[in-house]
Structure formats: structure tokens, C-alpha cells
């Protein structure tokens, strides 16, 4: 029963996203701007370093960026803030009346929206990268990159819901999303591959969940056939979903809403 409800929420959200082309076009165009800027940066960086940096040449770096940026841009960047507003305003109390998990339904809805955005954004990214540097370096790894991207988006959504639940305690999670976003940008490997980090930071990053949200699909798409990365992602996804359910459960029990 509940799976059917999640599926309906997922489908309706995906349909709504397609039916609001304004927002979709803006996100995709913004993704294009990011890719343009970062490709200019890494092109110059590769040239001044004799062609490769930490094992990445410009071709593999550009394909890395297509996936690392695409997996992150797919998700509404202010999701944490919006969840926080719903919690802080007490609006979430209405959702608690339904005989289904609040956080489960929210993640299913957000996933529908994110996968549509991801599809459109990555289509643009693939066209841009193909035109600029040619096909991806390893076609077998491309086959792994797609499921990895879906797992990455799922893990990111689950973690964002856990993070946003801070609003149950401080009534304002607006600033939390800035911090969360930067963790994904940096230790998640969105801006640069973990291989460019100093050894200690790279080691720490691999113990945190954020690298499963951006680095993993990007590493695969950049030509590295490493199937074990999907297993790590799947394990983190389960842990993060469970974490979100627990934190929301505790938060919902302490929520005090007036009126409505």
C-alpha cells in the first residue's frame, strides 16, 4: 500500500516538473553556465600542468564534471531551507495526519522532481562534453555511472532531510543548507576529484557520506571502471534513509504546532 503511494507521489512530482518548463529551463541553463566556467578553469589548469592533474586529463575531467555537477544540480538547492520552513511554520503537522511516513513521502516527491531535472541537465552536459572533447573515456564505466547517479541523488535527498530536521530544534534551518551544500561541493568531490586532495583530507572524505552523492558517478563517468563504488553507495543510501526516518520520527514527537 505505502509503496504504491510513494510511486504515485514520485510520478506526480515528475509530471509537475515537466509541466513547469520555466524552472526546469533555468536549472538546466545554470548547469550549462557551471559546466562552461569549470571547463574553462580545468582546461587552463591541465595545460599549465602538462596535460594531466592527479591522473585526470582535460577529457576525463570534463566528463567528471558532467556527472558531479549533474547529480547535484538535479536537486532543488534550497530543499533544506524549504523543509525547514515547513517544520518551523508547523505546516508539516498536516502531513503527519496521513497514515504514511512523512519523510518517505517527501523523499519520493523530491526524487521524482530530481530525476527529471537530472535527465534534462545531463543531456545538455553530454552534448557539451561530446562536442568539446569527444566520447567518454570508458564506455563500460558509463553503464555503471547511470545507476550510480540515481543512487547519488537518493543518498543526497535522504541526507538533506536528516540535515533539515535541525529545524525541529532550532526553528530555522536556512543557514544549514549553505553548510550542507558546501560539504557536498567540497568533500563530496563536486568541484574537484578526491584524488586532488591532500591524503588526510581524501581519507576523511571517504569516511563521510558526501562522496557517494557526487564523486562516485563522476569517477565512473570519467573512465574508471570501479563497480565496488556502487556497493558503497547502496550501503550509505540505506544508512541515510534510516537516519532520516529516525531523526524525523524524534522531531515529529516534539513538534508543537498552534492553529493551522
Amino acid at each position: 500500500m505505502s509503496w504504491a503511494v510513494y510511486a504515485v507521489a514520485f510520478r506526480s512530482s515528475a509530471r509537475r516538473t515537466v509541466q513547469a518548463p520555466g524552472q526546469l529551463v533555468i536549472r538546466v541553463l545554470f548547469y550549462g553556465v557551471i559546466l562552461g566556467v569549470l571547463s574553462a578553469l580545468w582546461k587552463v589548469a591541465c595545460v599549465v600542468n602538462g596535460g594531466t592533474i592527479a591522473g585526470y586529463d582535460f577529457r576525463s575531467m570534463l566528463w567528471y564534471l558532467v556527472a558531479s555537477e549533474g547529480a547535484v544540480i538535479a536537486i532543488n538547492p534550497r530543499l533544506i531551507e524549504y523543509i525547514g520552513v515547513d517544520i518551523g511554520s508547523g505546516g508539516i503537522a498536516i502531513e503527519m495526519l496521513r497514515p504514511i511516513s512523512v519523510v518517505g513521502l517527501r523523499i519520493a516527491t523530491a526524487l521524482g522532481e530530481a530525476l527529471v531535472r537530472f535527465g534534462f541537465a545531463v543531456s545538455l552536459g553530454v552534448a557539451f562534453a561530446w562536442f568539446t572533447v569527444g566520447p567518454p573515456p570508458d564506455l563500460a564505466a558509463v553503464g555503471l555511472a547511470l545507476p550510480a547517479a540515481i543512487l547519488a541523488i537518493g543518498a543526497n535527498l535522504a541526507a538533506q532531510h536528516s540535515f533539515a530536521a535541525i529545524a525541529f530544534w532550532v526553528n530555522d534551518s536556512k543557514a544549514a543548507w549553505f553548510l550542507y551544500q558546501k560539504l557536498v561541493f567540497l568533500v563530496g568531490g563536486m568541484l574537484l576529484p578526491l584524488e586532488l586532495f591532500p591524503p588526510l583530507l581524501a581519507h576523511i572524505s571517504r569516511f563521510l557520506p558526501f562522496w557517494t552523492m557526487s564523486y562516485v558517478p563522476a569517477r565512473l563517468l570519467s573512465g574508471h571502471f570501479e563497480p565496488w563504488l556502487l556497493l558503497v553507495q547502496a550501503a550509505w543510501l540505506v544508512a541515510l534513509m534510516a537516519g532520516a526516518a529516525v531523526v524525523f520520527g524524534i522531531g515529529q514527537r516534539k513538534l508543537e504546532a498552534v492553529g493551522g
Binding site: V37, A40, A176, F178
Partner: protein
């Protein structure tokens, strides 16, 4: 002007009222800014100097950018929301007040989190190693002029909603693109994109030119920059006030 100053003071007091939340948000923002700086530190550690840019130059760039976002998105938080406010008919109550509507709208709301940038900007500028008495003055003046460019750009894009309708999507895209492009050294770009940065998306005036003035000061460029920022403000006012003639009431009289 007294009414505008009082409105601004009220908005700042409003942000300051919840001290715990204020400091939490400011701290988060500083941590957020630090993450970007860490990216550049890692980048230059691995890559070395790129087209004359090193860590020190990028720290100057981020010092200016943090000040600009602190002013444009923190103190004048409504600048980014102008198009959405127009679409929601939220100008009604403002137009009935005996104040300049654009100025009033801009100073009406403060975004607490972004105020953290105003702490971070000067700190990161000091860390850049480019601080002297003269450069400190240039830093303050250049940040104000760059903020004028940034806010004017947002006002112009938001005002477009008055002419073409919609929900201000073009303003959001422009905002994201400007912020993104202003976060990178201008010398990375060439040809058409560089031309774009000096015209349609004025990122060159938000960080490129201010950073250059702080590292290689030139009176001629400073004059052009000052004059340009004044021109941008006047243009933004002109577009907004021309657009008001097209504004359709949302019959919302309670959201001034």
C-alpha cells in the same frame, strides 16, 4: 530619506532580535565561505599559478565578493526577490507609502545568514596579504561600487517582470549566473565570454575590476569603475520606474 533609514534600522533590529538564531546563521555562513576558500587552496596547491592568479589574488577576490553578497543579499535582501514580489502583487502597499518605492523595497528585509559575509569579507582580505592603508580604503570603496553593480543588475532583471510578466525566473537565472561567474578569476575567460562579463552579465565589475584595483591600482580604471557603478544605479532606477507604469495590482494591501 529618514523613513528609509528607519525602515532599514527596523529590518536590522528584526534580524538581531533572535540572537541565538542570528549567531548560528552568521557562523554557518562563515563556515560556508571557508569551504569555498578551501577549494581554491586545494586547487592552487595542486595546480600552481594560473594566468597570473594565485591564492593571494583569489583571497582578495573572495574578500570583495563576500562584501558584495553581504550588502546585496544580506542588507538589501529583497533585491533578489523583486521579480517574485512583482508577480505576487506585493507592491500595492508599498506604492501607497510616501517613500521611494524601490529604495523602500530594497531596505525592507535583511537576510541574517548573509550578514556573515560582511564579517568574512574583511577577514579574508586581511588573510590575502594585500593589506595596506591605501588598499583598505580601495577595498571598502570598491566593494560598495561592486555591490551597486550587483544590486542594479538584480533590480533590472527583477523589473523585467513588470514588462513581460512571469515570476521573475530571468532574475533568478541572472543572479545565479552572475554569482557563479564572479566567483572565478576573470582571466580564465577569453573572447565572447569575456565580452559577456563586461556587458550582459557584469561579473567583471563585481569582482574582476575590484580585484585588479586592489592588486594593481590605476586611477583611470578606478574612475571608470566609479562612474560605471553610478550609471548602473541610475539605469536600474530608470528601468524600475518605467516598469511601474505596467504594474497590475494584486490587491494585497497588507505586505508593505
Amino acid at each position: 530619506m529618514r523613513a528609509i533609514a528607519t525602515t532599514m534600522k527596523t529590518a536590522l533590529i528584526e534580524a538581531w532580535t533572535n540572537r541565538k538564531s542570528f549567531w548560528l546563521q552568521v557562523s554557518f555562513m562563515i563556515a560556508n565561505d571557508l569551504a569555498i576558500v578551501v577549494f581554491w587552496l586545494l586547487f592552487f596547491r595542486k595546480v600552481g599559478t594560473v594566468r597570473g592568479w594565485d591564492t593571494g589574488h583569489v583571497l582578495v577576490l573572495f574578500g570583495v565578493l563576500a562584501n558584495v553578497t553581504g550588502i546585496a543579499m544580506g542588507i538589501l535582501a529583497n533585491a533578489r526577490r523583486l521579480g517574485q514580489m512583482v508577480a505576487d502583487g506585493e507592491l500595492d502597499a508599498v506604492l501607497a507609502l510616501p517613500v521611494d518605492p524601490l529604495l523602500y523595497l530594497l531596505v525592507r528585509r535583511v537576510d541574517t545568514a548573509l550578514l556573515g559575509d560582511l564579517v568574512f569579507g574583511p577577514l579574508i582580505f586581511v588573510a590575502s596579504g594585500h593589506v595596506t592603508a591605501e588598499s583598505s580604503v580601495v577595498f571598502v570603496v570598491a566593494s560598495l561600487c561592486a555591490a551597486a553593480f550587483f544590486v542594479s543588475f538584480l533590480v533590472i532583471l527583477g523589473s523585467v517582470t513588470l514588462f513581460i510578466g512571469g515570476r521573475g525566473e530571468q532574475a533568478e537565472l541572472g543572479f545565479q549566473a552572475l554569482l557563479m561567474l564572479a566567483s572565478y578569476p576573470i582571466d580564465l575567460f577569453g573572447g565572447f565570454i569575456k565580452l559577456l562579463l563586461f556587458t550582459a552579465i557584469p561579473a567583471a565589475f563585481v569582482t574582476g575590476l575590484p580585484t585588479r584595483l586592489l592588486t594593481h591600482f590605476d586611477w583611470g580604471e578606478a574612475g571608470i569603475f566609479l562612474g560605471g557603478s553610478l550609471g548602473a544605479v541610475l539605469l536600474a532606477r530608470l528601468v524600475f520606474h518605467s516598469g511601474l507604469a505596467h504594474y497590475r495590482s494584486g490587491a494585497l494591501w497588507t505586505r508593505a
